[in-house]
Symmetry: none
Subunit: 155 residues, 2 copies
Amino acid sequence: MRNISDVIEQYLKQVLKESQAEAIEIKRQDIAKRFECVPSQINYVINTRFTVEKGYLVESKRGGGGYIRIRRVILHEKQDVLVSLMDILQDHPRLSEQLVENILIRLFEEGMLSEREVRLLYHLLSDEALGLHADDRHLIRRQQLLALMKLLSYH
Amino acid sequence: MRNISDVIEQYLKQVLKESQAEAIEIKRQDIAKRFECVPSQINYVINTRFTVEKGYLVESKRGGGGYIRIRRVILHEKQDVLVSLMDILQDHPRLSEQLVENILIRLFEEGMLSEREVRLLYHLLSDEALGLHADDRHLIRRQQLLALMKLLSYH
DNA sequence: TAGTCAAAAGTCAAAGATGGTCAGAGGGTG
DNA sequence: CACCCTCTGACCATCTTTGACTTTTGACTA
């Protein structure tokens, strides 16, 4: 194996496979020591190899008792819907209430959101909830919708 | 368990659960001794884990016969829960990710949000989703949480 | 009754323990 | 040679632990 990143990647996947659990918890420092590299190398491996698109979810906590938790997730089968919706977001610099509603309804029709979830999200993303930030509203909507889709992309 | 604070938190919650009563009384010194830590560690645990928005009420008395009483708040009407959470919003000019998480989890525990809805909302309100608007983040969170509670209040 | 003292608990800031970010250097491959 | 990964380290953010100092309370005493 040519580089240390690949080695660490294999190691982590091995550990993940061997532990029957759906998640493993590591200490960044420990892994770095084991492979004699700087701690931020671990972040590099995680950022490049354990992404959502590849089916992994990573959480972490800093400070005393800190950890990095890597979880295997199953990707949602309707990636294409999400991709097409994200394209739409790209094409519309200004995300009106109307457009948001359309997107949410589409997600409902595809079975990715319940009716209640649509109502809830629509409310949060409405002009009224977001307040006077007339200009920023659109930006925030885009970002929150992107966060939503990222979340919906796995089970 | 990774750090002593988590251990103490679990212990106190266990005691709270086992005693059928709605409140427990502890002696700070005793707990500190049992877990071999400094007494102020107990304050740290209480301040970070037994907060109002998480649904706990803490009273104490100093001096001879001093004690710390931890009470689980029991509200029977959803309306009461919402009002108390809105009070908390009032009291916190800056709505951190942590506080938002606590509030959402509380709403789950009170049966007003599903686990999935909590996850969904948490992602939308996260630092990551809201982006670099460091200052505005807090304002947006407040407004969106208020919108959420308003919606929940007339289910 | 007022003062004193010891026994709690509270506060706060510094130190410790982790993990995160980012920009630039290093290296391999077409 | 150019480009794309990798690797590194300085600096940052967050959470926990510790201890010195403060405040409160009740019992005891003058």
